[in-house]
Structures are given as structure tokens and as C-alpha cells.
Amino acid sequence: MTVTPAVVEEEEAPKKGLSFKLPLEETEMGLIAGIIAAVIVIFTGLPAVIKGVGLLLALLWGCDSVRKTSKYGLGTGVPSIGVLGTGYGVVGALMGLAVAEYGRVGQLYPAVLVGVIVMGAIGLVSGVFSNGEKFIAMKIPRLERAMMELGMAGTLAMLLEISILTGSLSFAAVVDNVMNTGLIALMFIFNCFAMLHPYNACLGPDERRERTRMVSVEISGLICVLMGLALIGLGTSPYGILDGVSLIVFGVIVWVVFFRMFIKACMDECYATVGTGMIKTIE
């Protein structure tokens, strides 16, 4: 009697995926992204491409916070927390824009960061209520901090987009160019996507942080393209049409590079890739 040999597991060295070495640790990421984005928000006279880099960092930070929280299972799906961050972002942007005129030096608006800080506080309060034993009791470790970070990242991203589109942070210009043109709806939904989609799409047992973050950067590239088109349409940039065009070129480059990197990382790290062929029709 022959005994079927047990299947010998081939011991393969874990495949090294493409790595994407931005600040690796989560706290470092938050600090660096937050500080750079905050500095870029204050200087409104910068060209749109640099604001685009700030936007990319802010959204990456938001995506990281979403990932950190959603790992524990929210019960309502990943999208809810991304939408929460963007909702807070709009309220924070309103507060920031309202106080922006105070302490203004030429093209510098340091007071706009009040909105970011206020939103951090509201995020912290909502985190305490969501995690508190006597209230919603979600029991997710460090949810308070994650919600605070989400509020701040959402506000920074929203303010950076507004700054790209209007070239200033004056409330009247924002109402004319962003709110009444309806661009705010586009910004709202795309900010949501940049924060919630990466983890929502990549989650699972084999999720890897660096791979997930590639998706966020890629979506930010698409946002940059859209912002560039809107900027050309609005014609509000002090640098003329070149500003919008350079933002579009930057966005396309970011998108192509990171989309290729993500697909390559997926192909490298999966067990096998097989084609299913065309769908067969029943005869």
C-alpha cells in the first residue's frame, strides 16, 4: 500500500516588494506631513506644484490614520471614517478661512492654522466619545489620536486645495471660486477617496502599509490633474496658465509612477497571476 506523500511546501524566501521609503513610522509620518503641509498652507504665494506636494503629504497622512483605525474593524466599513475626516475638514476649513485675515503679513496667513487646531480638538472630543466606555464604546486602541489626526489632515488637505484654486485664502474669493462653482463637491468626494479608498481596496490578511500608501499617492496625483484643469478654467493663478499646466504635468507623472509601482508590487507579491481569458458564452 502506497502512502500518498504529504504535499511538500516549497519554502520560498518572502518576496520583497517594491518599497516606497517615505517617513516610515506612523508618528514620524504624521509629524513630517503635518508640519510640511502646514507651512505650505501658510505661504499662499507658492506655485501650485509645491501646494500639490503638500496636498499629497496631507492626504497620505489621512490615509495612514484611516488605516491605523480600520485595522481593528469599525463594523461600518472603512468609508465611514474617511468621510468623517473630510466632513471635519470642511468645518475646519471654514474656521480657518474665517480667521485667516488676522495677523496677515503680505501673502502669509499664519492664523489659518487655528482652523486646523480647532478641528484637532473636535476630532479628539469625538474620539473620546466614540471610545469611551460610557458612550459608544468602540474599544479601538488610540482612536482618539486617529480621529484628531483625521480632522487635522482633512482640514489641511481642504485648505491646500482651496489655496491652489483661489491663490489666496480670502473668504470672498473662496465663496466665488470654490463654493458657488460647485468645485467643493468634487474636492469633497476626491478627498474622501484619497483617504478611504487605499485601505478599503487593499485590506485583507496580506495588506502591507507601503503598498497601501502607493494607492493614496496615486489618487492624489489624479486630484492634482483635476485641480490643474480647474485652475486653468478659473484663471485665478498669479503665475498665469503655466501654473495649472505644471500642476497637471506633476499630477500625471505622480499618477503614472505610482500606478505602475502599485501594479508591479501586487504582481510581485501575489502567489501567482493567471489570466482567465474572455468570458465564455453558453452554447
Binding site: T76, P79, T86, V91, L94, I122, F135, V175, M179, I184
Partner: protein, 232 residues
């Protein structure tokens, strides 16, 4: 500080509380409902509430262009949201009945509390109900009405008391609404059928959280209004 500013905070808080209450009344099925193994609409609380309240804000904004009546604007928002949620629930039922071949049945109660129809014999074993049965439909209609009313109330306060432009008022009202609806969604944890669901008893916890967050958001809006001088 003018009394109008207190009115803004008051309406934002009421709107937030109504958002939280409305979210608890909706038939949320989540991922299990997508496979036909739970009662409700096959997506999360946030998406259902967003769809309903956006429609509500559209109708409220249209009505607000030719009237200053608080009740009329709020009720039109409520009706818009109700119509939206009813259409979604009806289409979900059509798809479940004719697409999946399951009957709408509640998984949480033995007998329908409103029509007294038996539920248990029609339920597929090992599942948690299917589709949108009568009691759930009624509860969802109420949820859409209450949520839409809350959203339109916030929109009215921001438009007429804080003197924001229509676009700004809609986006800010929507954002505050979303924050409250999501806190309610965390309280629900996945799926809920409506007012007859045991999870509905957790409502006060969400209302307290909602009160705190919408109060803070209301204060932020009022501060912004005062600083901007009510001109925008």
C-alpha cells in the same frame, strides 16, 4: 452676542440630534445584505444617509430660493429624503424578490409589530432575514423623514441666520450632518433594522456623543459667522 447666534447653535444641535436619530431608524444591511442574508439595504449607514440627505438638501435648497418659511424648507428637505429612501427600499425589495428569489422578512422579530404577519416561517435558516419587510419599510421612511428634516434645518439656519451663500451653507450643513451620522453608525455597529431592533436601545449613547460634537461644530460656525461679520 446676538440672540440669532444662539439660534444657529440651537438649530445645528437639533439637526445633529435628528441626524443621529434618523440613522438609527434606517434599514442598514451592510455586507451581509449584499448576499441576501440580512434585512435591509446592502450598504453602510453612511452611504444610505448621505444619499437621502443630499436629495433632501437639493429639494430644501430649491424651496429656499422662493420662501423664508422655516417649516416649509425643513419639510421639503424631509420629503426629498423620504422619497429617496423609499425608492431605494422599494428597488431593494424588487431585486431581492425577483433577482435572488427571497421574500422580505425580518430576522429580529417573530411577528411583524405593525401588520402582525408571521416572520419566522419565511426566514431561510442560518440567515438574519432578507429584503425590506413592512415594519422595516415604515421605520426607514421615518428615518429618512427625520434625517432629511435635520439636514434641511441646519441648511436653513446657515442660510438665513448666518447669511452664508447657498453653496457654502449646503456644504457645511452636509459636513456636520455626516459627522453626526457616522457617530450614529459606530453606535449601530454594522446592521440595524429599525425601531423594533434590540440595538435601537443604544440610541441615548449616540445622542450624547452627537450633542457634544454638533454643539462644538455649531460654536465653530457661529465664531466664523461673527468674525466674518455676517456678510457672507
Amino acid at each position: 452676542m446676538e440672540p440669532v447666534m444662539i439660534l444657529i447653535v440651537g438649530y445645528v444641535v437639533i439637526g445633529g440630534l435628528l441626524a443621529s436619530l434618523g440613522a438609527h431608524l434606517l434599514p442598514v444591511g451592510g455586507a451581509p445584505a449584499a448576499m441576501g442574508t440580512a434585512t435591509g439595504i446592502a450598504t453602510g449607514t453612511v452611504q444610505i444617509m448621505l444619499g437621502a440627505v443630499l436629495t433632501g438638501l437639493f429639494t430644501a435648497a430649491s424651496v429656499a430660493t422662493f420662501t423664508d418659511s422655516l417649516l416649509l424648507v425643513s419639510l421639503s428637505g424631509a420629503l426629498g429624503a423620504t422619497v429617496m429612501i423609499c425608492v431605494v427600499m422599494f428597488m431593494a425589495n424588487v431585486l431581492y424578490a425577483f433577482g435572488c428569489g427571497v421574500v422580505p422578512v425580518s430576522g429580529r422579530v417573530e411577528v411583524d409589530p405593525i401588520t402582525k404577519e408571521p416572520q419566522a416561517p419565511y426566514k431561510t435558516p442560518q440567515t438574519d432575514g432578507h429584503g425590506v419587510p413592512n415594519v422595516v419599510f415604515v421605520s426607514g421612511t421615518m428615518g429618512g423623514f427625520i434625517g432629511g428634516f435635520g439636514g434641511a434645518l441646519m441648511y436653513y439656519a446657515l442660510l438665513n441666520y448666518a447669511h452664508f451663500s447657498a453653496g457654502t451653507a449646503a456644504v457645511v450643513a452636509f459636513s456636520i450632518f455626516v459627522a453626526n451620522a457616522i457617530l450614529a453608525a459606530y453606535n449601530i455597529r454594522g446592521t440595524i433594522e429599525g425601531f423594533h431592533d434590540p440595538k435601537f436601545k443604544r440610541l441615548p449613547k449616540a445622542l450624547v456623543s452627537s450633542l457634544a460634537v454638533s454643539l462644538l461644530c455649531g460654536i465653530v460656525v457661529v465664531l466664523a459667522t461673527i468674525i466674518l461679520g455676517g456678510a457672507l
